[in-house]
């Protein structure tokens, strides 16, 4: 009963204190609502960009701008690059793009685009660079694809030309071979030509003609002699007539022979002339034939050389052809983007809030857990009833546990509400591993509640507690992935972040909610959380023990500052006057002369104001009494007393009425 009563009392106090009730009930819901509104959209960035182009109109610039504009970027044109950069500084745009003058595609063309970004926005700058660069890369890739396609077409055409050239060379080579063969044959024929005539002796012919003529003469003579002898032998018989004829014939022939011989002589002379001319011609022909053979030889060599060259050209063309064939990639797309990448999420969701959800949930648990439990303890410590709690026969640990349970219950309800709302709105399968997720959430809740409790016990005031809570929460946040990637931190800090309960809890929750991992895979981290919790329990009990001693010392009933300040009996003694209450202040102030007054109220001190502050705990009155002028002080205390009198009168009347 006692336990429940304390918890119930804590809950009532929290709910009845307007500010804490607002924080407790609406704080987390407000956070989640804001975060939900902010992040419940596809993972795109609504970026605005400014640009400056020196050209009044440039199709290439326009094409780039059109590309980004089509992707829902807010685009603002600036009149100068200074104005464009100024736009970033003023927060009007996220990036500034400066296009070059005469921006165009070409070898010597000025095609360098300058991007200006604000690196102080560490959490966004890389997304901005990545996002804008992506849009520009798309357009650049399109242009690159066109250029590459042209290049590929030319290569294809060249390949066809080379093929045709190879064929021509082959034909040419065969023609050359044929020519070489023909030349060879011609050459050998020419070389085989015999231009020698031998020795034609006209004199011998003449001699032979003369001999024939002399033989004919001799023959005629011998024939005549033969006929004469035949006649002699045969006498005048018939046959003698025939002989006479033969003789006549021989005589006739013989008579003709000189003429023939003369003709022969003439002919021989002619032949001799002709032969001489023919010889001369043959000589000339032989010389020319030799020249021809020589030239044919040269031609043959040239043709051989030509053939060799043709072979070389052919080989080169074939090599070129092979190279062209070996290019293999014939698609411009493949050359512009030889490697195709596709970034796939390891989870199916595409909503930023789902990705952020584990981190946000632990963030809420962390801040509410720390703030709530520390506030609860400070509320109790600063409460006037703290003293009465100590006077009851209740062990310290009872209050520690009840504070923990109270904070835990509130935080648990908040987490349930948050999870319920998230489940309803996100409509995602978040709780496939419900048991493990619950264990992690409960452990992290416990850790942060215990941290908050330790802060509450350490801190002396609400302000100190709040500052300490925020500071510790911020350190946890800073040493996590939420603001800066852990990977960018120094090795030491990186190692420390492994023990950051926020990092451990949120990473575990991410694994269970998003990656649906099972307990076996993450038992070490869960164990680490359990160790954290155990350590924090010990710390809380130790800090509570120490703070209890401090609290007793700070108790308005007991104060150790050289002497005891006890509001009820710590009277102020000024000269011979004793101030017991506020009325006495007025009385004594009136009684003191200026010298006495200055002894106690001067530039260095104001004992009356100090007493009112420290003993009466009337800080407002003390503040008002901080005058160096007695008259003003009297006026202040008079007004104060009148106010109290009026209040008392009112209460009295009220009581009488009751």
């Amino acid at each position: 009963m006692k336990f429940l009563k304390i918890v119930k009392k804590n809950l009532k106090l929290l709910m009845r204190a307007k500010s804490s009730a607002f924080i407790v009930i609406f704080g987390p819901l407000l956070i989640i609502l804001l975060v939900g509104l902010a992040l419940n959209k596809p993972s795109t960035y609504e970026l605005s960009l400014g640009y400056y182009s020196p050209d009044a109109s440039n199709s290439l610039t326009d094409s780039f701008i059109e590309e980004v504009r089509n992707n829902n970027y807010s685009v603002v044109k600036h009149d100068s690059n200074e104005s464009c950069i100024q736009g970033i500084k003023q927060g009007a745009s996220h990036t500034c793009i400066i296009f070059p003058k005469n921006f165009e595609m070409g070898n010597d063309a000025a095609n360098k685009i300058e991007f200006y970004v604000d690196y102080s926005r560490t959490n966004l700058v890389y997304q901005i660079i990545d996002s804008i660069s992506k849009e520009f890369k798309v357009r650049t890739a399109e242009l690159s694809r066109d250029l590459t396609q042209t290049l590929l077409t030319k290569i294809q055409e060249t390949k066809q030309d080379v093929d045709e050239d190879i064929l021509s060379i082959i034909t040419m080579k065969s023609t050359i071979d044929e020519i070489i063969t023909n030349i060879g044959e011609t050459k050998s024929t020419s070389e085989g030509l015999d231009f020698s005539i031998g020795t034609i002796s006209i004199s011998a012919v003449k001699s032979a003609g003369s001999s024939i003529y002399s033989d004919a003469k001799s023959l005629k003579n011998k024939g005549m002699a033969a006929i004469d002898e035949a006649e002699d032998l045969l006498g005048s018989n018939t046959s003698m007539g025939d002989l006479a004829e033969i003789e006549d014939d021989i005589l006739d022939i013989f008579n003709v022979t000189p003429k023939t011989y003369e003709k022969f002589q003439n002919l021989t002379e002619n032949v001799s002339d002709e032969i001489a001319r023919a010889k001369s011609n043959l000589k000339s022909a032989e010389t020319k034939n030799k020249e021809i053979v020589s030239k044919l030889g040269d031609t043959q060599s040239s043709l051989d050389s030509l053939k060799a060259d043709a072979d070389e050209v052919k080989a080169n063309l074939e090599g070129t052809n092979t190279n062209l064939e070996n290019i293999g990639i014939t698609s411009a797309e493949s050359i512009v983007s030889p490697i195709k990448t596709e970034i796939k999420p390891i989870v199916a969701e595409s909503n930023q809030l789902i990705f952020m959800f584990p981190f946000l949930l632990v963030l809420v648990i962390m801040f509410i857990g720390i703030m709530l439990s520390s506030a609860l303890i400070i509320m109790e410590k600063n409460s006037k009833s703290a003293f009465r709690n100590f006077t009851t026969p209740t062990k310290d640990w009872y209050f520690v546990i009840t504070t923990y349970v109270t904070s835990f219950i509130i935080l648990f309800l908040q987490v349930v509400v948050i999870l319920g709302l998230s489940y309803y709105f996100l409509k995602t399968e978040m709780f496939t591993n419900l048991a493990l997720t619950t264990v992690i959430i409960l452990l992290s809740m416990s850790i942060f509640v215990l941290i908050g409790m330790a802060i509450g016990y350490v801190a002396g005031t609400q302000e100190a507690s709040t500052m300490l809570s925020i500071a510790i929460g911020s350190v946890f946040l800073l040493l996590s992935n939420l603001i800066l990637p852990i990977e960018t931190m120094s090795e030491l800090i990186k190692n420390l972040t492994r023990f950051n309960p926020y990092v451990v809890s949120s990473e575990l929750l991410k694994k269970t909610l998003l990656f649906k991992v099972v307990g076996v895979e993450i038992w070490k981290e869960v164990f680490l959380l359990a160790v954290f919790m155990t350590v924090m329990i010990i710390v809380v009990f130790l800090v509570n023990k120490l703070s209890r001693i401090r609290l007793l010392e700070r108790s308005p009933h007991i104060q150790r500052r050289g002497y005891i300040y006890v509001p009820e009996d710590a009277y102020l003694k000024l000269e011979n006057h004793i101030i017991k209450n506020k009325k006495d202040i007025l009385r004594v102030l009136k009684s003191l002369d200026d010298k006495e007054f200055e002894k106690h109220v001067n530039k260095k001190k104001n004992e009356i104001a100090d007493w009112a502050s420290k003993i009466l705990k009337e800080r407002r009155l003390a503040w008002k009494l901080r005058h160096k002028d007695k008259g003003k002080m009297i006026e202040v205390i008079k007004k104060h007393l009148e106010k109290i009198a009026k209040k008392e009168e009112k209460e009295r009347k009220k009581l009488e009425g009751d």
Binding site: M1, K2, K5, I6, K9, K12, L13, R16, A17, S383, K384, S385, A386, F387, R388, N389, F390, T391, T392, P393, T394, L552, P556, H557, I558, R560, G562, Y563, I564, V566, P567, E568, D569, A570, Y571, L572, K573, N576, H577, I578, K580, N581, R587, K590, S591, D593, E648, E651, R652, K654, L655, D658
Partner: protein, 334 residues
């Protein structure tokens, strides 16, 4: 004479180098209303806190007789409050000048809460709440948030919280501080009522005149020691040798008058508003000196009287007195 229930023996307490209480010993009897008076910083509240075992002394002991125990032998034995903290907490209730309850809880909720810390059964708790609300005249406000209570009601609720477990001893530290006379009277009436039920009451108050009427015995704490523990009448008789000379005159240059007076008859003086109060064991001598001075200074006497010093005056004299200038031998006159 009733038997003692608290026995305070040789209590010495220092905070740092500052000695607060030095070898204090006295007893508190069952059923009495025991008052503690002392000057500023004399350590009354420290003494109260030590008596209830809330503060440990450097030396000495406070023992209590747990007479509520059924075992007679045990009930008659004095036990150190420091060794039996949890048990001691059950037998006393503590109410101080500062209200010690939750402002955002109603009266009934506060009583229920503090009652539950004493492990009272629901029935007992209900009965106690009912009784206390009636006793303190707070029944009509039981569902009112404590923050809406007036000063007097706050004090009554605080006392009710201290009494929720029906303690054998009620410790009241300045129960009427900052209250107007009507409310003070109301509180003292309540204290008497509580005491009549058999509750021993230990209290410290600076309204000494009121203590005079209510306390059975009073302890005077002076110079870190208890100088006297006696009934108010005994104390007054002891310190009644001093008388007060009250003078009111016009224009009232009391400083100049005092400068002319012979110091040997003046134990102390105080200017209270338009009055000059002179403590003296020879008031007639003071009068004798005063008349010529007043005449010489052309002071017109408006009022002049001689009276016995009240307990308040004795207390003030005690608190001012650093060299044993305690007024003695005074007789009240008007």
């Amino acid at each position: 004479m009733t038997e003692p229930i608290f026995r305070i023996r040789n209590i010495t307490k220092s905070f740092g180098d500052h000695l607060i209480l030095d070898d204090i010993s006295f007893e508190i009897r069952k059923g009495e209303i025991f008052g503690i008076i002392g000057a500023s910083g004399s350590g009354k509240t420290t003494l109260l806190n030590i008596i209830i075992g809330f503060l440990r002394p450097d030396r000495g002991d406070v023992s209590f007789r747990f007479e509520h125990l059924l075992d007679f032998q045990k009930a008659m034995t004095f036990r150190s409050v420091f060794k039996k903290q949890e048990a001691v907490k059950k037998i006393y209730g503590f109410a101080s000048q500062m209200p010690s309850f939750y402002m955002n809880l109603t009266l009934k909720e506060n009583l229920e809460y503090f009652g539950s810390l004493y492990n009272l059964s629901p029935d007992a708790l209900k009965t106690n709440i009912e009784t206390l609300l009636n006793l303190m005249d707070l029944k009509n406000y039981e569902d009112l948030a404590a923050k809406n209570l007036s000063g007097g009601m706050e004090r009554r609720l605080d006392i009710a919280c201290a009494l929720i477990h029906d303690p054998a001893v009620l410790v009241l530290d300045e129960p009427t501080a900052d209250l107007d006379p009507v409310l003070r009277e109301h509180i003292w009436t309540l204290v008497k009522k509580i005491n009549k039920k058999g509750t021993t009451i230990i209290l410290a108050s600076h309204h000494l005149t009121e203590l005079e009427d209510i306390c059975s015995r009073i302890a005077i704490l002076k110079d870190k020691k208890i100088t006297d523990v006696a009934s108010p009448d005994s104390i007054k008789n002891k310190y009644s040798k001093i008388q007060e000379v009250h003078l009111e005159c016009y224009p009232g240059n009391y400083k100049k008058i005092l400068a002319k007076l012979s110091k040997k008859y003046i134990k102390n003086y105080e200017i209270r508003g338009s009055h000059l109060v002179i403590h003296s064991n020879k008031p007639q001598k003071v009068f004798h000196e005063l008349f010529p001075i007043l005449k010489k200074k052309k002071e017109e006497v408006i009022d002049m009287k001689v009276g016995k010093a009240s307990l308040d005056d004795i207390f003030i004299a005690l608190s001012k007195d650093k060299k044993d200038e305690i007024p003695k031998d005074s007789k009240k006159k008007s």
